[in-house]
Subunit: 478 residues, 2 copies
């Protein structure tokens, strides 16, 4: 494909993308295909001779699109949002075109330096304590700073490995089997997975109780730690959550930090979804105590208009990270005002991912980004207010960060699951359910880049209609 | 940024990208900036108010470009290639625009199914044994298949974890500390890193000798295994390499496979760079014995025109992978003709990465892709021939897969390192050196998507001129 053919095909694709964004809200949000729908529609092997872009795009439209759940639909209220935005798409397109590798500073210096700069920018925007900044006031690199990981799961694992390297630095190898990791049982599943990958035998997921809105109780944590220490184990890694996956629960960060300090544990804060709200003055109370954390994470690819993958991680001190992940002895690592991001992550290769965040931060600017988050938070309050006023429903945990968890009360007890199914089958909105204290709970997560009040009101209407139908049937049955 | 503003900005960017590709060969290949060049050129924080795309692009041109090493330059002969192509860029642009998450089949069914189909296509193109295909002749999923990982490093780690899950399934937990991983010392550094991450204490990097062109000697491997078994250790994971990083050495796959079978070890083949040549009949001899491997990997993002990240991994049996990486007990996992790729990888989130490979396989087709690889291999032979005819140089290991490793012979003994520096400082070509048997060796790797004979000849000219200068100076000094 020559340059001119690409120019034409790419501009046609831009037009298609514009058209897609203009009509995505009209598409059924959730795909209703059955497993195995695609193989019968596709050839069994790649073609021998080249095909034109028209043929490929024709298959995209007729065969791929029906199998997609439209995460960019303004009617998508499932999981957490996976924001895209036009500025991020521009940055990512540029990154794809330049196709440089950023694993060594020397492999393409701008890739490393822009990432470091942009994460300093984001850290300041999020009011992170200055101990998380890479560049000091003198313009020189300090001990800490930011790095873009692929996902929060990788961040949780990388922080665990750093924690392990730090605690094991002066211990005999056999102590590795005595290390204990802690979080609430509402924390992300990636903590357990990180323990599986790293071979951390002891992973305590401490029950977070509804009385505390599913936040981890510091007293419970302390009790668990004391018990482990009494059994000869070594607490080494604590993950606090700001905005849990199920219900956006927020752990008491300052209290947890104090416990972590007391026991010399690495304290990681997983704020994958909600961390971006640290840029709002009215949300500061959730983030008090951050200066006592060793690492902090939020995903710009969730609620900050930056296409996947862009999981932003900051550390106060990168040395334990490098001790865990660098194959070079410390004296051979990049020196002076440079570092090699291969030593901060599990993969070797890495894309020029900071470009998309650079475009987002510059083309939105602080005020628009704050406005963007407040827009969704207000929509969340609107939605929660609608649920609260309707006595067929019950809100089970305080709505937060534009997420509302609620149940439909009915005689059969399974009405909530049925409600979520009915809403999703309509194709007009998509949400998921979760489990809290053994109960199935509907989970309405707002955060789509295009989501406006009318989409939330229409979804509520849909929920009410589905509830009417379900309750009528349930009453007839009982 | 509204749709029309994006349409205009994106089309302008396409024009810029076209222009970049037209002129990239004239840009200095390697950036010559100093560490810390960028922070003084950038504001200390993100702007408060939105900036226009022109302002951002202006900074890209004046501040970022000078800090880039141009991996897409046809004069780039360093590391291994990191191919981009216009079809892949189209697929990736589409993926960015759709921004769906593919971690669950149900999260966007087409993302999982297209990935599975496209990796079956690529497996067939590469003549992989049918045991690596996902879909059987009946169109149903079998036990194995392909998955796109981010990098070969992640693949090596994921395979290690699968190997561990398999061997540990019927052993007591304390045996984990007795597991031993093997590869040649020419294998990729990611093997050692995988052991660090997973906590595999025993990692044997067996010396590969120059007499065997740096391939692993099966006798040496067997001896190491026997010794470990005699010490009460448990061999569990063997990595064979087809195309090592330093010199493109190829391990004797069938022999290693037999040893792996004998000891019930997981046998992974890392063919990150050279694996794509399996599509060439004349290269089949390197791949004999593949049906005895448990997993195989090649990176489409190196030499197959597919932008990073696209590390293609196949397994004969995905169950051990899921046992290692799934948080769900087996009976709860996705059933029927579907699976969830979150259970095949370390991260949770995943991009719709198969789209770019889909565009590449269709828009090139088998014959053009074969022609593409043969083009570089022929250029490699041309270059090796030029080196061979010039008695100032010596080729130190058989040139293979378009990589030539050579030294400049001179009285000081440091001429090769100086040669590489001189070439790189010219900005007209970029190559790196490596170390083989303690000797610094120049490493000329061909594989740029735009690299033609004239670029190779010009680079050779440059090398010769640099050698002239260095040898004259060296003679004057001695």
């Amino acid at each position: 494909m020559g340059i001119e053919a690409y120019r034409k095909a790419a501009k046609d694709l831009i037009d298609w993308i514009c058209d897609y964004y203009a009509r995505v809200e009209k598409l059924p949000v959730r795909s209703e295909v059955e497993p195995g729908y695609l193989p019968p529609l596709m050839p069994r092997k790649a073609p021998d001779a080249p095909e034109g872009v028209e043929a490929v795009m024709s298959d995209i439209k007729s065969k791929i699109l029906p199998g997609l759940t439209h995460w960019q639909s303004p009617n998508f209220f499932a999981f957490f949002p996976a924001n895209s935005s036009f500025p991020a798409m521009l940055g990512d397109m540029l990154s794809g075109a330049l196709s440089v590798m950023g694993f060594l500073w020397s492999g393409s210096p701008a890739a490393t330096e822009l990432e470091t700069i942009v994460l300093d920018w984001l850290a300041k925007l999020l009011n992170l304590p200055s101990c998380f900044l890479a560049y000091g006031p003198d313009g020189n690199l300090g001990r800490g700073g930011g790095v873009i990981q692929g996902t929060a799961s990788e961040t949780v694992l990388v922080a665990l490995l750093a924690a392990q390297a730090r605690v094991m630095a002066e211990r005999p190898a056999e102590d590795r089997q005595r290390l204990v990791c802690y979080s609430s049982n509402q924390a992300h599943s990636s903590i357990k997975k990180a323990c599986m990958v790293a071979g951390t035998t002891h992973c305590r997921l401490i029950l977070a109780r509804p009385e505390l809105d599913y936040a981890l109780d510091p007293a419970d944590l302390s009790a668990a730690i004391d018990k482990d220490i009494a059994s000869g184990l070594i607490p080494f890694y604590l993950v606090g959550t700001i905005g849990s996956t199920s219900s956006c629960a927020v752990d008491p960060i300052a209290d947890l930090a104090a416990i972590a300090r007391k026991h010399s544990m690495w304290f990681h804060i997983d704020a994958a979804f909600a961390g971006v709200t640290a840029m709002l003055p009215e949300m500061q109370h959730y983030f008090a105590g951050l200066e006592l954390a060793d690492s902090f994470n939020t995903n710009a690819h969730k609620w900050l208009l930056t296409n996947f993958d862009c999981s932003c991680m900051w550390v106060q001190d990168a040395e334990p990270l490098k001790a865990a992940l660098s194959l070079m002895p410390a004296f051979l690592r990049a020196k002076g005002n440079a570092y090699d991001f291969k030593d901060w992550q599990i993969p070797l290769g890495r894309r020029f991912r900071s470009l998309k965040l650079f475009f987002v931060l510059r083309m939105y600017g602080k005020h628009k980004l704050q406005q963007y988050l407040r827009h969704h938070i207000a929509l969340g309050e609107l939605f929660a207010g609608l649920v609260r006023k309707d006595n067929r429903f019950e809100i089970v945990t305080p709505p937060r960060f534009a997420l509302t968890c609620f149940v439909l009360k009915g005689p059969l007890g399974n009405e909530t699951a049925a409600l979520v199914d009915a809403v999703n089958q309509s194709g007009r909105a998509f949400m998921i359910s979760t489990e809290l204290s053994g109960q199935t709970v509907a989970r309405f997560a707002i955060g789509g880049a295009q989501t406006q009040q009318r989409h939330v009101r229409a979804a509520w209407q849909l929920i009410c209609e589905a509830a009417d139908g379900l309750l009528a049937t349930a009453r007839a049955e009982t």
